[in-house]
Structures are given as structure tokens and as C-alpha cells.
Point group: C2
Chain length 361, copies 2
Amino acid sequence: MKPITIKRPTLIIHEVRAKANIQWMVSKAKRLGLHFRPHFKTHQSATVGQWFRDAGVERIAVSSVSMAAYFQAHGWQDITIAFPYNPLEWEEIDQLSENGRLTVTIESAWALADLKLKIKHPIRFVIKVDVGYGRTGIKSSDAALIRNLADSATEKCQFAGLLAHAGHTYEAVGKEAIEKIHRASIQSLNQLSATFLNKPFISYGDTPACSVSEYFEDVSELRCGNFIYYDLTQAKIGSCREDQIAVVLACPIVAQHFDRREVVIYGGAIHLSKDFIEEGGKYYGKIVAFKGLEWQIMEGVFLKKISQEHGIIQLPEEYDPLVFQIGAILGVLPVHACLAVDSMTAQQTLGGVKIEKMTKI
Amino acid sequence: MKPITIKRPTLIIHEVRAKANIQWMVSKAKRLGLHFRPHFKTHQSATVGQWFRDAGVERIAVSSVSMAAYFQAHGWQDITIAFPYNPLEWEEIDQLSENGRLTVTIESAWALADLKLKIKHPIRFVIKVDVGYGRTGIKSSDAALIRNLADSATEKCQFAGLLAHAGHTYEAVGKEAIEKIHRASIQSLNQLSATFLNKPFISYGDTPACSVSEYFEDVSELRCGNFIYYDLTQAKIGSCREDQIAVVLACPIVAQHFDRREVVIYGGAIHLSKDFIEEGGKYYGKIVAFKGLEWQIMEGVFLKKISQEHGIIQLPEEYDPLVFQIGAILGVLPVHACLAVDSMTAQQTLGGVKIEKMTKI
């Protein structure tokens, strides 16, 4: 059992848990007879991508053109950019669709017309449907507009189905609450789908619903991403247990203030983001101790404040000061894994193997 | 007047304002008879570093060993790492002090002993004093401990003074409130300083106080950083006017929802961070329009919500829909410039000149 050896904030991936999370979702999709197109924005990593490939995954979703380019360069041939078509990047998009099967996300007649006008190589598009989250997409009740867009497909610009994200499940707490929002979203898609002559392909799936629900009527593929690592937000919602979380930020202790039961770590907002959980006071992470190839949550120890590089850890009333020495390494379970992963270039497994990650643009 | 040409979220620096901000602070330090050691964590850029050099600056502060290495490689010879000494990075620190004049920050006897034990090349240390912010450092009232540390200096490990950061000025609103916190901090340093046989060198200066105060009794050098770009937080506090802010995130519009007076931009938490201002509702940025080599705040237009890559902009009751077309480029004045800059690799001036930035570790 080699102890963790890092010098500065480093993202540590629990390879065994991450692979178990992948396998669990692959099996669930198979059992439900659904395609599986995991969202790779959570890890942004060729190394982790290979773990998915080893589990039989061939289709992926990404959140930017740059990310599509990174994964295409790493051999992924079927990529959906699950973010509204950005007309300013049409050349890069055209290039990607020359080299692989690319699907872009459309949510207006203007965007589709622009795409059709500019693109030289065959491409596919999905229509982004708003199922109640209210962030973006065409409202599912706007069936005529959606069908109209689908009917505007051409041989070069093919309609590949509907794409929806029920991001409002993140506001739920508990499996029942997730299920309720999820069912309402699915039903709004069912109603829309029923107005088509031929039922369209439907790409769907936020991590909370994919984790807890069995109800995916009319859905064709699952498109969740966060489940590979999970995080404290997902644990709080009820999507996972804390012992399924597969990512922590390892940080050295650099100062002690035992008079106020605090230690300072090298690790802050530029590593974790400023996402917090409000639960008997705000916290930006829970603290774990590393034990060989495992970590263990330290009860009552929280990351209470963060600034750019400083993290302030609050200790409980009873603690062993020897555990919190300067130079010791603690782990922070992140509130939001996707943002912590996006922030960090330095990533490795618990066993010390480097995790490749795409360069931030 | 070349219009802004970007394809994806890009940080735009207003070179004229940034250079004016530099010149203003250089002049102020000179007028007050103080050394000036700007904090380079705000820009992390060799290009912007050169602007400081052109204004006569020779000493700098940074917030990490990696940042010290980046700037030493770009010719900076006098660097203070204004972050508690991380014993795990002693080899990198020793290497840097072989090649230049390096000062590290110490706040415990343990840390100083560790430094003295390990380091092979002459190095300087400052003692971090807590003047009321409560994040880290030895309380200024703990004069005996502080003097004791100073007295433990050796020829190889020289005492270079006290270092303090009154970060609690960020909680003030208005010049008077800043001045009040600032004076209390300075007075606590004065009391500490008076207990020394010879008055120690004092490195000091948050951006709010350096921007508004004239009172720097016993202070030897100013060490502010954010003032180069400022941001909406500084404008709200009263440190600057909005027309002194020298950084915006340029983002393409990718979707319209005029029915609820919203447009969606490609630009979110991974570009701006999740810092927000609460002022008649939460917002994550104010929106500007680009006009040649200037930008102009669009009254009543706010970045109201952000997720990973999406930003939701709220439009006022009266607006010109032609201005908010898909593919158009808007700018977001950031709530916290340091975090936005840290997040972004793609940076350029309004005139289109690339700004080099250190790679995220």
C-alpha cells in the first residue's frame, strides 16, 4: 500500500469505483434495452474514455466543439455535441463531420438554416427540447415548431432525433422527488413524440434520473455524465451513496489554527470552484483521509471557506492534532465533480497513474 | 476600428485601461514613498508582466511555487510567494532560490524549522501576520511569537519583514467602510512593529485599501494585485469605477428565448467561476457591447444564471432584438477577475493581440 505522494493540489481518481460506476450504468442501459451515450464533459479524459471503451461504449456526448475535437483525435467516431450550435465554429464543426459521425444540437430555424447553408460534409442534428428545466431548448409543448424543424432535414443535414436534459432533477432531494420531476419530463416528451408520424429517436438522461429511475418510456438512449465520479451534490440529492464518489482533491496542509479548530490547505476556488452545499451552514467539501488505495470520510470535518488558493478546514470538537500536521495530505470530496475536474490538469489514480486530460482552451 | 473576432469564450483585456491602472498605482506608491510589489496572481501573464516592467516594476508577489517558476523563467528576479510555505515543495523552492531572489511566507516555528533544515541555497522569509481577516497568519497581538520567529533567522534563511493581507476590506461597502477596516489593520501592525528593536519591513496592501486610502503608516511596500483589471466586486465595494474595469469575457450568443426575455451565451461557470453579486437579485456579471476598441455597459442586461458552459442573460423590458442575434458577441464584466483569468487560457487584447498566460497546473 503506497501512500499518496503529491506536492500540490492534485485530483485523485478512485479507479475501482469509477469503473464500477461505468459498469453499473452500462448494464442498466443494456437491461432497459437503451443505447448508452455517456457525457464526457465530466472527465474530459482520454484515459477515462478508454475505461468506457473497455466496457463496450462507442457513442459519446460532449459539451463543446473543442471537446469533440479532442475525443475524435483519440479515436471516438460517434460524437454528439450536446450544446446549442455555435455558428461561429461552423468550420471546426464541418472539419469534424468530415472525419467522423458528428451530431449537433439545434434549437431554432435560424440555426438550422445557418448550418445547412454553411456545412460541406454530411452532418446529423438533434433538436433540443426543453422538458421543464427552462435553461434552453424549444418547449416540448411547441410540437409544430419542433416537427417543422425535423421536416427541414436534408440528405446532407439529417434529423437524428430529440435531445432533452431534465437538469431540474438537481433541485430535487430524495429519490421520490427525482422520480416525480423525471416522470413529468418523460411524459412531456411522450406527448411530443406522439405528434410525430414516426416516433423520433430520443436522447435523454441526467445523472439523478439515470441513477434512480426505471421509467424511460420512449427514450432511445441514456446520456448522463456525472455518474462516473458522482459528488456531494449527487449524494445529497439521493443519486448515489458517498462511498460511490470516485474523485477527491488531494491537498497539503500548510497552516494550523488549532485555537479556532481550523487548518489551512493549499487548495481553493481555482481547484474546486465555488460550489457549496447549505446544510447546517455552508461547506465546500467533506474531508477524507487516505488509507492505502482507499479513502475514508473524516466525520465532522468540513471545508468551510475558500478563497483563490486557500481552503479553511473546520475540525470537530474532538480531533487528533497529529493527523492535521503541516505537510500532511487531506482529500476534499467535491461538491460538484464536473467543475473540479474542469479546473484541474494534475490528475492521477489512487495508485499514482497519470490521468490524461484535455487542455483547457 | 476592427470588431472583436472570436469563435468561443475568450477573455478580452482592455490594454489602455490596464496600463492606466498600472501607472496609477505605480505613481501612488512613488508619491507615498513606498516600494511596489504587485501581486501577479491576478493576470498570471508574461505579456502583462512586461507592461509592469515597462512601468518600472522589478519586484513581484505570486501565490504559488509554480507561478514563481513561470515568472522567474520570464526574467523576474525578485519574487515573494505570498502563500504559506508548503513543505512538500521545498525542492522546487530551493531550485528557485538558487536562480533568483526568493522570499517565502512563514507562519509557524515548525515551518521555519523545516525550511532551515531542508533548503540549500540562501532564501528570505517574511512572517505572515493576521491583521483581522482571520484566514491565516499569526495574530498581530502575538508579538512575542512573531519576534521569536524573526530572531530565528540565519545567514542562509534571512528575515525579510512582515507580510499582511487585510482581505476583510472586501466585505466593506463604500470608501469610508474600507478606510475604517484598513486603519484598524494598519494600527494593529503599528503596535506589533513597535515591539521590535528595529522596525521591520512591512509588505501590505489589498486592492480596496490601495485604491482608496492614503494612510500607510509604517508600511514599506504595497502588494495589491486585482487593481490591474478590477471587477464588479471592486466597483461595488467602491475601489474603482466600472469604466476602470479592464477585463471582459467575450461570448457568442447561441440561443434566444425572447418570450421570457432571455438569451443563452456560450460562456459559463468554467469560464467565469460561480462568484455572484446579490443586489436586487443574484447576478454573475454585467453585459457589455463591443464598440471598436471600447466596450459599453448595456443598462439593465445581466448574466442571471450559469451552469457549466451555458450563461443565461436577462434582458430588460425594452431591448432591440437585432442586437441579441444568434452568433452576435457580447461581453461579460466578471464579478471576480482573478478567478475568470485563472479559468481562461484564450486571452487577447481588444486589438486582437494574444496575451500569454501560464499553463494551469
